[in-house]
């Protein structure tokens, strides 16, 4: 449509990129700057990187914030906890979501459309309220405890809230639709005759699944896993509402450093390290995956 950039098109093309540079990349550069600044009392609570004094230009830069973070197992553990939470819940979402997506995609068209609507409804409804629902359910006086007491499995309410199992449960519950919908998107396009063909040629159901169905739904698996893994790595709300002090996560640590301790340089250094430890692997994976796809096409 547009072969060469004309003058009137320049603004059309560059406005959104200017916006992203200004409100996404400049802020990131800023937290990098603050992360290598020295903290001090006052507003803002860090010393300027460059200052002019009698001795000339002074540079007040430090790697101390990073050294502090990486010498304290408390912070390192929070990164590891976040990574393991993201891995565990992505895997669980995949294991629970795949059969659901598969059977919804294989249903008759009339039923399928209704089931699809039923998958989209939780996807659209408020994230916060769905986490809150588990807080209600898992209470000591909550419905799950009542049922367990009623059928005689336990005699007294057990505390199911404020531990990392409740966090995993909450994450799997809230992110499950994010896994199911992309999986469904690929499985529904998939020609069911391929399964019959594979069966007719004598393949066992397991082999049909591993050699035919799984490779063809791989893009859906990757898309769904990304949609779960990326937000869970920085998740704050679910650990705050359902979690306890047995495991602390990266998102909550940044929140507390900033809002409770008011230590901007440490919060910024945590965020920068978070980008390197948690976000770079995702970007590298996506680049490798794109290359792999490109080669196979």
């Amino acid at each position: 449509m547009i072969k060469n950039l004309k003058k009137q098109n320049v603004w059309f093309v560059f406005t959104p990129y200017l916006w992203l540079v200004l409100f996404f990349f400049v802020p990131l550069a800023l937290i990098f700057k603050i992360s290598i600044s020295v903290s001090e009392w006052g507003m803002p609570p860090y010393r300027d990187l460059f200052s002019l004094s009698e001795n000339g230009l002074e540079i007040n830069s430090t790697l101390g914030n990073y050294l502090f973070i990486f010498s304290d197992p408390f912070y390192i553990r929070s990164y590891l906890n976040s990574l393991s939470l993201a891995f565990t819940s992505t895997l669980l979402c995949l294991l629970i979501g795949y059969p659901i997506a598969f059977y919804v995609a294989k249903s008759k068209t009339s039923i399928r459309n209704i089931l699809l609507i039923m998958l989209i409804i939780p996807f659209w409804s408020s994230f916060l309220l769905r986490v809150y629902a588990w807080k209600v359910l898992l209470q000591g006086s909550g419905i799950i405890n009542s049922i367990l007491i009623h059928i005689g499995l336990i005699s007294e309410p057990i505390s199911m809230l404020h531990n990392h199992y409740a966090v995993i449960l909450g994450v799997v519950y809230t992110y499950l639709p994010f896994m199911i919908l992309p999986l469904y998107g690929y499985l529904v396009k998939f020609d069911l005759n391929l399964i019959d063909a594979s069966n007719d040629l004598g393949a066992k159901p397991f082999n049909t699944f591993v050699k035919v169905i799984l490779p063809l739904s791989l893009p859906g698996i990757v898309a769904g896993s990304m949609l779960v893994f990326i937000p869970v790595v920085g998740e704050y709300i679910i650990p705050e509402m359902l979690g306890g002090s047995d495991k602390l996560y990266f998102g909550k640590i940044i929140w507390d450093e900033f809002f409770v301790n008011r230590d901007w340089p440490i919060a910024s250094a945590l965020a920068m390290s978070g980008i390197v430890i948690l976000v770079f692997p995702i970007i590298i994976f996506q680049l490798m995956y794109a290359k792999y796809n490109f080669r196979n096409e």
Partner: protein, 265 residues
């Protein structure tokens, strides 16, 4: 038969898991007791209190306003990005622009919120803008993380449909502006609508970024709800959940019916 049984069992368990918590919450919203979990009797008491709760009503209005503005701006810019990446063959340094437009997708919201807040504070120090934190700063932040999502949707629609239609229109002598309005726009309209809807729900649902960038007079609904349920339970929030679920279900059903009548045509 065995297979069918397994299918029905999987779907029943799966959908029960998805719906049981929501339905319980709705059931308890009719409980006439301040202690959420102890059933006392059926009443609409919490709905009445909800509709007299100024704080929640105001937050709801603020959220709707920010979400619709944010979705509109994000959609306009998302369409621009979608076009520039799929339709301009000679855009210089294309991978760089792809990187620019997609990196917000992988950024944890907590880092996004922190960096935007520090940015607003510094820019207020240096150029005096924004003069204070509030609805404007929340709006800017929401636009920033929504643009990338809309761009992805528009891009996939634009790259999957046949460019030859546009070229055919060109060969038939249609002027470029007409091509856009008569050929391209109708094709990408569904993508624009779903992009807008996604940006709208992203903004309506956001708690973390809004908590960082909010200021006086800009408490969005998630911020108010979170402050109520962070430490305990709130029967008013139960009633609010039921109402939101009702709205979502009605919207989903109407979209389903519209789709069905479109397919029949």
């Amino acid at each position: 038969m065995n297979k069918l049984f397994f299918k029905i069992l999987t779907l029943t368990i799966g959908f029960s898991f998805l719906y049981f918590p929501i339905l319980t919450l709705i059931a308890y919203s009719f409980n006439d007791n301040k202690r959420v979990m102890v059933w006392k009797g059926f009443s609409f008491r919490w709905y009445k209190e909800l509709f007299h709760n100024e704080q929640i009503l105001e937050a709801f209005y603020t959220s709707l306003k920010i979400a619709s503005l944010s979705a509109t701006f994000a959609t306009v810019m998302g369409v621009m990005i979608g076009f520039s990446l799929t339709r301009i063959s000679k855009i210089p340094a294309r991978p760089f622009f792809i990187f620019l437009s997609s990196s917000p997708l992988v950024m944890p919201e907590i880092i996004l919120g922190l960096s935007l807040l520090l940015f607003f504070i510094s820019s207020n120090h240096i150029i005096g803008f924004p003069s204070s934190k509030g609805q404007l700063t929340v709006l800017i932040s929401h636009i920033t993380f929504s643009v990338a999502f809309v761009a992805v949707i528009i891009q996939s629609r634009l790259s999957s449909y046949d460019k030859n239609i546009e070229e055919a229109a060109q060969d038939l002598g249609t002027i470029p502006n007409m091509i856009f309005w008569k050929v391209t726009a109708p094709v990408i309209l569904p993508a624009i609508l779903s992009g807008w809807l996604l940006a709208f729900t992203l903004s309506l649902d956001d708690l973390v970024v809004a908590s960082f960038t909010t200021g006086p007079g800009a408490n969005t609904l998630p911020i108010v709800v979170f402050s109520k349920v962070r430490l305990g339970l709130s029967p008013e929030v139960n009633a609010l959940s039921a109402i939101i679920m009702l709205i979502v279900i009605l919207a989903a059903i109407s979209i389903y019916l519209i789709n069905r009548s479109n397919i029949k045509k």
